[in-house]
Assembly symmetry: C2
Homo-oligomer: 506 residues x 2
Amino acid sequence: MIFITHAQDNVGIVTEVSGLQPAFSVSPDLQARELVPFGQKISLQDMHKGQPVIRYGQVIGYLTEDLEAGRWLQQTHIDLPEAPTLDSIAWKKTDLPELDPLAGYTFEGYRNRDGSVGTKNVLAITTSVQCVAGVTEYVVDRIKKDLLPGYTNVDDVVGLTHQYGCGVAINAPAAIVPIRTVKNLALNPNFGGEVMVLGLGCEKLRPERLVPQKQGGNGESDILYLQDESLDGFDGMVTEILAMAERHLEKLNSRKRETCPASDLVVGMQCGGSDVFSGITGNPVAGFASDLIVRAGGTVMFSEVTEVRDAAHLLIPRCRSEKVANRLKEELRWYDDYLIGGQADRSANPSPGNKRGGLSNVVEKALGSVVKSGSSPIVDVIAPGERVQKKGLNFVATPASDFVCGTLQVAAGMNMHVFITGRGTPYGLSMVPVIKVSSNTPLKERWHDLVDLDAGRVITGEHTIESLGWELFELILDVASGHKKVACDKLGIHNDLALFNPGPLT
Amino acid sequence: MIFITHAQDNVGIVTEVSGLQPAFSVSPDLQARELVPFGQKISLQDMHKGQPVIRYGQVIGYLTEDLEAGRWLQQTHIDLPEAPTLDSIAWKKTDLPELDPLAGYTFEGYRNRDGSVGTKNVLAITTSVQCVAGVTEYVVDRIKKDLLPGYTNVDDVVGLTHQYGCGVAINAPAAIVPIRTVKNLALNPNFGGEVMVLGLGCEKLRPERLVPQKQGGNGESDILYLQDESLDGFDGMVTEILAMAERHLEKLNSRKRETCPASDLVVGMQCGGSDVFSGITGNPVAGFASDLIVRAGGTVMFSEVTEVRDAAHLLIPRCRSEKVANRLKEELRWYDDYLIGGQADRSANPSPGNKRGGLSNVVEKALGSVVKSGSSPIVDVIAPGERVQKKGLNFVATPASDFVCGTLQVAAGMNMHVFITGRGTPYGLSMVPVIKVSSNTPLKERWHDLVDLDAGRVITGEHTIESLGWELFELILDVASGHKKVACDKLGIHNDLALFNPGPLT
């Protein structure tokens, strides 16, 4: 009926769906003094003003008034501590725990020429500028209807449309972020190396920047400019694009699944619409699975700078080397400056929904968020829009905004996505399978057709973090093999991409 | 074969599609000294280094080297002048020319309760956060397929999806821009006052902020939260949304067109993919039509701060009062600061395509851009995301980025859109009819199915700016009445909306 995350905690979390009634006896020593709703914090001892509130064994804030044992600890009772300054956090050479290797796990994937492995077989149409989005959406529909039925081995066609490319400060320092993102999106393993680009012709972002150098390639024939003078109107454009698409569909259609070791997994971990259970159930379950993937030699990425920023003191010591620690500090510092530049209010995260869900502040949220990275060392830190290079646990620096984070993880090269939610969000991507994990069982019961795995079962004692961590790992392998379809793919609900453009519009 | 825009100009524009060949005699006094391609500038006299280059009777830059008469004046020959500082431009009480009123022009529109007039009859589904975009797109498809055929008087259903609402600094000073934009989009006259909002539940942007106060309204029933605990999964959501949509479709279906004076027109002028002809043909034709609309008592908006910034010295004196002039300076100054904050390079506009099209720099582009506002006084200046209040010519401060400008003009309340292009862009909106005007005939010939009106006919002498201005005005009335369909509606190519969010993501 209450859940305590660490022996040193002085607050517990109510797991009773109807809440704790006043005078309810939690234990011989502890009685609820008022109604404490589901997901909210109850004080475990008499506490005085100024005393630290401890959760996950960490200070999440300081009491603004005295609070007796058994009271509902609300957001107004707690002051936000200052974020640890990055300079004050030292990296030390310590013996980071090495996890035991895990052998023998495989999945059926599409091996690409560059060694990466796809979990889907998708034709992606890259776009250099927002101006071509309308035409791109039109032709994607046409390709699905007229061509795809003839290429039964290709799963889907997606237009990588976005709002960048022109009307932007293309030479501003921050412009490199959206530009490399658009380029790297097209290189996601699920697209099989078949890059085709629709450009307009007069845009600032030159389509040539988006096409990788080919070995003995066919030159510029993978780019079509709508302004090309040889095209006869809209019909002419559509005919040309369909012909280009067909060339790529033919190649994609010949891809075959083969048995690949679990070390070819590249899994992006993300949470959105978090509640107080995310940090006790969904994120620890994801963290356990993260460790399994790393132990199997695979790649895991976690992200969301603003949600881990207040746990920097826990992350920096976990970096594999001082160089990696410095890269992490660099990315966090960049983001601090970016937020200051926009006069962002640090207390604006967590969202109102997070707060109603029981999260007091960003510190508590950060502690619960970092848990999904498991316990392995951080081997690399990736700037937004760049691709992951190393196997093991990577921190991919992104905003916490779900769509933007997901887009940057697609660009970083993930072939599987795990999305943990407590309050519920109908998140889904068409290009990479998204496994949605609920942090509480009521959500799974309500959203039975939207949630793939219920981590809320940890609360009832029916399952453990370990058992559900294994279940998630097995589910990742099944979905990656195409043996199971995730909820959002069954329903056909998918988000648009959302680029991170920290630079100005012009 | 060449076109001179003002008696004081010392450059002409080549209107010969194949360009001017070396030694070609333009006049007894002027011979081309090299090949000068179509759309490019030819020097009309011997000029020396440092001499001002004059176009539209205005300095567009200074020569970087001596240049003989008959040479091709290229971008490298010209230095960008400093933008006039806003403080140095004074507003003086002058007798601004009042245009003669124009009576007797009408169109058939949908009169709304608030007095505004729609030119289409569209159900819009507002969204408070990007998280609901996937579900919104799904239900829009379902409504189109399952419900719309039963409401034959309703033209279309659109989801006002966007990338704002959560994962953003909602309390940053700049947040007000996207928030009021989302709210005001739903109030566009073409949506008939039928606001329905899909929210998630835990987002930062509260859906309640998006619903206008109703007279004796039905409370919160126009908002559906996907996280609502009474909804049974995805199917439950879809069922509820369809029921809500049906209530609004019924009301929209009873709307009838009635004869409205041309003073009910609210026309947004925009250009994109401009070339050197935009400022001689398309924009002056649009400017002539602007004056006709203002003379008929209607409303015209022009926008694109970065493209008019270098013509501030021409715009400020045109303001109706000192108050309006100060508002204009305020918006231009805000944008200057915004660009400096992002370290934007002023020379990044015009785009590479603009330059290939013959535009030397942003000054030349600005002079050609402002022309589409016609010659009437500026009666008001509107901040991005706000609604137009006054009839007459309004400056609506927006980025030049086509999609963002269009979105802000929809939010400002336009019921007709004119989009002028020289190089060609397949721009289109589903909510407001977009008349696409080509600035040159080759584009119209190539994009015969994408362009609605060819202003290039001015060049051949076949038509005048005045005659085509009238043609555009009549076309606006015909399209507004539903008597003619614009190209992008016939083809079904429409852009997504793109919000202007000057604040940071979190």
